[in-house]
Symmetry: C2
Subunit: 460 residues, 2 copies
């Protein structure tokens, strides 16, 4: 937990932006896996963590803007509970650590909200992503489940996005701890990526590294020899020489700030020449975007620049052709790069995505594209000093997409289908770094982790 | 997945026991952690796994008892989805692997249930433990959320309990795989339990072992130098010589059968003499229960026998006094052993606990006690050949409980509070094994893992 002044300041700032009404921030609940007492590791809601800092289930935070007052609602453990749980700090104690002196039991939230509703005080709440919290909002505020998202407060969402998007020095330091643990995971994964080893084994070992560092995984690890499958959470393969292993993983600190890095390394000691060719193209795209990003630049332009760099490289190896800018404008590059260049990160890997991509990554003026490829770009707006974000270009050879577009005669002016057919078993490559936008440019977070084709393979 | 004949047989048996109506078995959904796209590792519902075997989100199984027919509802991935997920088997293919030829899209469940309701067919459903499924039952069957548990089908619950309680040879083999991985985790934890090592480090490493074996954890690991805190999921301590480390962990296979073992080992090479005294008492209680259990015996009696063994031992070291049977009958032993001796296990660590302890561990004739201690016994009924269950006695010195009972002058005839005061910093000991009830007795599952005070500490 940070110093209590930090939480007091954050709430003060939020309160002044929202201007009037009652701000309702719901903590998360325990969630059963397969029966009541077997529960997923508890993860506190990130907005609750940001403004109230307390990392335990069963809490609600209220900020009464009109009364200029913060409150916490939750239940203390009974003497009988203590037999099972050991001594626990009271909510009053925990509240005092984050500068909240007014606490009450959980049940009384309902009453408090009822009174506010009767007094016609506006209740600002966020769109719920956990069904337990949706059910509570439905019950307390008498809003149908299917209308909760629409009736959530855009004023509150925008105020929180403005605040959380710019990271303080303490937050950057915490993120960098997570990034460094993530680098340890990547280093070990690259070392273990040997012929005959299973994906599962490596995934287990690096998960252990994140836990042993005192935190968790920020998100389920992608670790696969089939890097072209973008949402690939299966880890059932045995590695073979000649394959590439794509590892996209992140550690989360005990305070829940996370890292998010991807490396693609050869299972044998060296890339094949074909692998190296495409790998170097991804490195070029990565460098182009990193060199471009500084305060005031549109992230969307960094994405397009990376796409153009990819197209130029793909032209040089005979997989694409035609005018580069035309190809990108029409979306032909999305045969190879179907997703976006990156996203904001912080307490969430896709920071604040629960609040809605349109508010986090775009603005009232800049709307998200609907074009295949660009529609998966989570971040388009101008970046600012203090933003922390990823840059993660890739080349993914997806046989099903080749078959589909070829059958539709799509982008015949830009894609060399004859050559591409020979790459159908190629797989996928991604390189991902975490960047802090600085006053005049940016800084790649964390200690050094090789990004070029001379990948770290110690003890070999 | 087992052979499809096994699933066909299971459904046939269930259908014949339930006798009439429509059996609705809901698979689980993905569940968001902190924003929609960041999700907990998917865990299929165990009842769904048992009868339909398919391990993916978004499925509903129906067994129409009247029509003698099984159906599966769920959606196939679209061509656009395949770009992100890679090729996936269709529901029709997956259905055929478990002997279900009738499949339909997810949306059509609602229609099907509507027709059944109009035809006055009784719909048997289970009490939901996931809020997503509760919301769906509420919507489909028009039953208020708070009434779903009461309106769930006791006939179905009892039929499933009868079937799942007795494990087949294939199930026992699968459980034993999980137990053996759990033994690997225990062995490594005992080896790492050295002065200066953190709980977190060891927990991370053994979690990695479970994942590397191709499965998951069956439940969040308890790994602590404060073994007296029974529901202790914090792992923030550094181990010191003279402490004991309690590790209660379980691996789950890819098919979701689990193990559940506890060992308590000294951080230094040897127990202190005081630790060894109490440890040996727990070993005696464990052996008494294991030697007692065979088909026809009440598990509750094994629990009481273990309690009496504990009391005799505690009398021998001066912590208890008086008549042993009286002490146990009145519940005085619960100062040291506050919980139950064990539970059924299988697809769930506390097997079928979602269906209700009263149906799983007790019978219409044998009700659960309300006495402190006994009320935490999850299993009381007679055991049968094919049951798989844990035996996990312990001694837990809980300072808060000592203070509470002493202030109430509770059990002055049985508890030597003066001596007990000196043990307030003692901690807790538990020994847990997994047993298969056999024709004439029982068999401890898995390869050998030392249980006596000469604990496995290789490489030292
Ligand atoms: Mn990322
Ligand atoms: Mn157990």
């Amino acid at each position: 937990m940070f110093n209590k002044e930090i939480y007091i300041d954050r709430r003060r700032k939020l309160l002044s932006t929202v201007n009037s009404g009652l701000i309702l921030l719901m903590g998360n609940e325990e969630s059963s896996i397969n029966y009541h007492d077997n529960q997923y590791p508890f993860r506190q809601d990130s907005n609750f963590l940001y403004f109230f800092g307390i990392d335990r289930p069963g809490l609600v935070g209220l900020i009464d803007v009109d009364a200029n007052e913060s409150m916490l609602f939750g239940d203390d453990v009974s003497v009988e509970d203590i037999v099972w749980t050991g001594p626990m700090p009271s909510l009053a104690q925990q509240g005092s650590e984050v500068g909240v002196s007014k606490t009450a039991n959980y049940k009384s939230v309902h009453n408090y909200l009822d009174k506010a509703l009767k007094a016609k005080q506006h209740i600002h709440f966020l769109p719920p992503y956990r069904p337990e919290n949706a059910a509570k909002l439905n019950y307390w505020l008498n809003i149908p489940l299917e209308k909760l998202k629409d009736e959530s407060s855009v004023i509150l969402i925008k105020a929180i996005v403005a605040q959380r998007a710019v990271k303080s020095a303490e937050e950057v330091a915490e993120i960098e701890i997570a990034v460094n643990t993530t680098i340890d995971m990547q280093t070990e994964a690259a070392r273990l990526a040997q012929d005959g080893v299973s994906e599962t084994h490596i995934a287990g070992v690096i998960h252990g590294i994140a836990l042993s560092a005192g935190g968790h995984l920020a998100f389920p690890t992608i670790l696969t020899v089939n890097g072209q499958i973008l949402h690939n959470h299966s880890q059932g393969n045995i590695l073979h020489n000649g394959q590439m292993l794509l590892v996209d993983c992140g550690a989360e600190t005990a305070m829940h700030y996370g890292g998010d890095l991807t490396r693609t390394s050869p299972v044998s000691q060296k890339f094949t020449s074909r692998q190296k060719e495409l790998y170097d193209i991804v490195v070029d795209a990565h460098e182009a975007a990193v060199n471009f990003l500084k305060p005031g630049k549109y992230y969307k332009d960094a994405h397009l620049l990376a796409c153009e760099t990819l197209v130029n490289g793909l032209k040089s190896v005979g997989l694409m052709k035609g005018d580069t800018k035309d190809a990108v404008a029409q979306g032909a590059h999305a045969m190879f790069f179907q997703c976006g260049l990156g996203h904001l990160m912080g307490l969430d890997t896709h920071d604040m995505e629960d609040l809605g991509e349109q508010y986090v990554g775009y603005t009232d003026e800049l709307k998200k594209s609907t074009q295949f490829g660009l529609k998966s770009l989570r971040l388009g707006r101008q970046v600012e000093e203090g933003f922390v974000l990823t840059v993660e270009p890739g080349i993914y050879i997806i046989p099903e997409l080749i078959d589909l577009w070829k059958s539709e005669n799509k982008f015949l002016d830009f894609i060399n289908y004859d050559n591409l057919e020979k790459y159908k078993d190629f797989g996928g490559i991604r390189i991902e770094e975490d960047l802090l936008i600085t006053e005049n440019g940016n800084r790649i977070l964390g200690k050094n982790l090789p990004r070029n084709t001379e990948l770290l393979k110690p003890n070999n």
